[in-house]
Amino acid sequence: MVELPSGQAKAEPPLGVYFHVPFCASTCDFCAFYQTVPKGNAVARYLEGMEAEASLVEWGARRATTAFWGGGTPGLLQPAQLLRLGAVMLARDGGRPDEWTVELAPATVSPNRIAVLRELGVTRVSMGVQSFQPALLEALGRRHTPAQIYRAYDLLRAADFPSVNLDLIFALPGQDEEAWRADLAEAVRLRPDHLSTYCLTFEEDTALWIKLSQGRVRLDVEKEAVFYERTWDYLEAAGYAQYEISNFARSGHICRHNLNTWRMEEWIGLGPSAASQFGGWRGANPPDLSLWHEQIASGRRAQNDRVRLTPELLAADSIIFGLRMNAGVNVPALQACYPAAPWTEAVSCLRRLEDEGLLLLESGGQARLTKRGRLVADAVGVEMLEAFAATARDIP
């Protein structure tokens, strides 16, 4: 078990701020995130849009306790552009975020950019390594080489970022268990502070999805399950404690920004496709640069898939997304937080899952998934949704 940073230690409630940087040099086969290859003055216009969107948010006196820049590839911005984006982040007074992550593709890690990020106060860099093996990188359509990974990693370490994460992908077509173990071993050898390992996901509208639907690659659930189990065991033994389905950290390096998301705290997302959960609403920006510009220009943001955050929704999502974490959720605490939610059914559903060996209900009311349960966390989520919906219908 890992110690979890207590979100409520300070009186100040956590607030995450997410910037989506929608540019990539090219599109990876597996990527379903909104990104585009920058053309002309697209980046400059984007930065203007970010400034405009930030001014639309009713921040009140709130400070971003954590920040996260994702993409796309934030590293595709030039140092000056990064500075300008940083200014948007720091314009809210109250000081720098306690944790500030920036995603960087290995090919974009340069001394100049690193210097700028350090200067801004970025505390954490997450690098999309994916694999250390040229053939697999090629298969994924990634544009970097293993040599670039090592060079980038050395630069980051030399710059003394407090936390460095590496992303890896597994269950790739053509990747056997041995190849995956080699990637894991190589990652561990580099001693990053944090590791995220993602089972390859076939998302609609990706090049990989097309290959899948054309039968050029095959889905193998059993292989995926085995890779998951091996990964968890391997990293645990290597000193990386799992704290979420795909996330592992050495002591003190859990990503708090993401933790707050899973705990259904608040966050504000800026940029195309960015989602927000703030001020009683959840919603996202359009996943399209020009539509986003249009919306911002007309003074609107986070209008897509907009839902009001009801106690029922937050209670259900706290459990569904909370159970993805190894620590699980504390049922009595949630009950106290959202007393109006239908708890009787929810608890009996948890007990059923416990009977089936998918979940542990501890005496303090902490509910956590077992290994088997974690492997079917989505099905568990559907089960919980049904439990919440069943009683919701009974309440007139």
């Binding site: 659930v221 998301t261 089936e356 998918l358 919906a389």
Partner: protein, 599 residues
């Protein structure tokens, strides 16, 4: 009224032996239908019948024929359904005649149905005129056909007429034989009006139209008549003949075949085989042979789309208007939702109804395992009839279960005799005797439980004999048998659609096969789920549904939560559409797939 110039006859044959083509030639030859009007195979009205080459519904037709003796004869041709499922209907349309043309395919020879139909015709006292058809086929074997006529049917070979419906050979000879060999109408001097109803159909404008044969007396519009089976009285609205289209007439007299429209609303009210008489001068005796027909085979029919339930209900209602042998009532199945328990005369009847629902009404349906009607004797209680395994009484109360049997006549090339006998044995049958048909063919007479031929018997027969075998059957009596109700349980809950009544000796094998198939088809479940076959409380076979190994999203951050939530909601809605067996969610088509692969 002079009936000496009237002849009533029908054509009986095995499927595909050319009955319809020959009928068409007779209509052409007698100028009843001009060649121009002639769509190929005039008498078969329904597409399905045409496709299968079998007539299900009879359509009589009146012809006028100037015979060699210079007289004009009125010939009434009654078409007959060709299948044993409809043997009662066949027997009624045979009863409307004095003679029958027995058609034999010159290349195929005597087949199972030829024999069955010939026996039915003999039983009705009909004069049989053997016609060897398709003699112009290169593979025609006249000598064999002649010998079979004598050996199997005990009909003198010299009576056979050689013909080809397709080329028009022998048509004149047939018509002459009809006039000369078939006697004029019988029972015309009975002292009261008696009219045989041999079919009814529903017409949305005119109501119920009954096909009828007058034996004695006359019947006309305005007459008050009585249906002798029920005593129900009603008024005749219209009478007429078929030329071959319906043509209104003044009256029908002795020996006439035609139609009668009576003031009743439903074909259920006028039963096939019933006798119509005048209400104020009723006959004392009904015409012989009337029977109440009961469905022999039952199954559940369910719409694939639950929303099609109403459409299915309407379709069954409409089909029943023309098919009073079809019975149905609403039922609910845990596995399949809302549907109907339907009763049929036999397997073909069941298939035809299902096919018509699919084609004519465009409704996708699934049927449960067919079941026969069992007689269950209970200790200290009257015996009950059970047509749905779900309704089987508690085994502890059962003294004895009886099942219907059939007497099957199976024609096969003798090289397959051994395999065929094995199949009969596997199906709990006994072979009573074997008769040699010719140098290469034998006929087996077997007693089999009806239950055993419901599912794959005919397919197996065809496969064993490479398509050369044929079978016909008549219903036998009920016999006591060691039968048990087998339940299929998913996670301990019985799945009604899979309950069946099986012979104890077969329960385990069938139970195991079903469990395996279900376990394979049910998608992996998060919970451990057993599929079991059980007799009462005793589990006789079991299998496990595959466990869900992995169902988890790898990346789930702030930006993914809405999308993820939507996906889970969608899955939740998807589960609502699934069938809930206890806590197990099973896609509706899983059951359907199992039912399909087992049929």
């Amino acid at each position: 009224m002079d009936t000496t110039l009237t002849r009533n006859f029908c054509i009986i044959a095995h499927v595909d032996h050319g009955k319809t083509t020959l009928s068409d030639r007779l209509l052409e030859y007698t100028h009843t239908v001009s060649q121009r009007e002639m769509t190929a195979q005039h008498l078969d009205a329904m597409d399905l019948e045409r496709e299968r080459g079998i007539t299900i519904k009879m359509h009589p037709v009146a012809m006028v024929y100037r015979a060699a003796d210079g007289k004009r004869y009125k010939l009434n041709l009654t078409d007959t359904p060709g299948h044993v499922d409809f043997s009662y209907e066949v027997s009624r349309s045979l009863a409307a005649c004095e003679g029958a043309l027995l058609l034999i395919d010159a290349a195929q020879g005597v087949e199972a149905q030829t024999v069955a139909n010939a026996h039915l015709a003999f039983a009705q006292g009909l004069k049989i005129i053997p016609v060897i058809n398709k003699i112009d086929l290169p593979s025609a074997n006249l000598e064999l056909c002649m010998r079979q006529l004598e050996d199997i049917l005990t009909i003198p070979a010299e009576e056979a007429i050689l013909a080809s419906g397709k080329s028009g050979i022998g048509i004149a000879e047939i018509l002459e034989a009809v006039v000369k060999r078939i006697p004029p109408p019988r029972w015309t001097d009975y002292p009261a009006t008696r009219v045989l109803v041999f079919d009814s159909k529903y017409d949305s404008y005119r109501g119920v139209i009954s096909y009828a044969r007058v034996f004695s007396g006359t019947i006309k519009a305005g007459d008050m008549i009585m249906l002798m089976s029920s005593g129900q009285k009603s008024e005749v609205k219209e009478v007429g003949a078929f030329h071959p289209a319906m043509a209104k007439g003044k009256e029908l007299g002795p020996g006439d075949v035609g139609y009668i429209v009576i003031n009743i609303k439903s074909t259920e009210d006028i039963k096939i085989g019933d006798t119509i008489t005048h209400a104020n001068r009723p006959a004392k005796e009904m015409l012989p042979g009337y029977k109440d027909v009961h469905p022999m085979v039952f199954c559940g029919l369910y719409p694939l789309e639950a929303s099609d339930y109403e459409k299915l209900k309407v379709a069954l209602g409409k089909l029943r208007l023309n098919d009073s042998a079809l019975v149905y009532q609403a039922e609910t199945s845990v596995a399949l939702g809302f549907g109907f328990r339907c009763g049929f005369l036999g397997l073909l009847h069941m298939e035809i109804v299902q096919e018509r629902i699919r084609r004519e009404y465009g409704i996708e349906i699934i049927s449960t395992y067919p079941s026969v009607v069992y007689r269950v004797k209970q200790h200290g209680a009257a015996s009950v009839e059970v047509d749905n395994p779900v309704n089987m009484p508690d085994p502890a109360t059962i003294e004895e279960i009886q099942e219907p049997t059939i007497r099957a006549s199976i024609h096969i090339p003798n090289t397959y005799l051994g395999d065929m006998l094995n199949l009969v044995m596997e199906k709990r049958g006994v072979c009573e005797h074997t008769d040699t048909l010719d140098a290469t063919r034998v006929m087996l007479t077997c007693l089999l439980p009806l239950n055993e031929i419901l599912v794959d018997f005919n397919d197996r027969l065809k496969s064993i004999t490479r398509g050369y075998g044929s079978m016909d059957y008549e219903l036998g009596d009920y016999r006591a048998s060691d039968l048990v109700k087998m339940d299929i349980l998913v996670n301990g809950d019985p799945v009604d659609a899979f309950a069946s009544i099986v012979h104890r000796s077969k329960a385990e094998t069938q139970g195991r096969a079903l469990c395996e198939k279900l376990a394979e088809i049910i998608p992996p479940q998060m919970f451990k789920i057993a599929v079991q076959a059980a007799i009462g409380a005793k589990v006789i076979a079991r299998d496990n549904v595959r466990e869900m190994r992995k169902d988890v999203t790898a990346k789930c951050y702030g930006g993914d939560i809405t999308r993820k939530r939507k996906l889970l909601d969608k899955q939740k809605e998807g589960k609502k559409k699934m069938k809930q067996i206890g806590r197990v969610s099973i896609p509706p088509d899983a059951f359907i797939q199992v039912l399909k692969t087992n049929h």
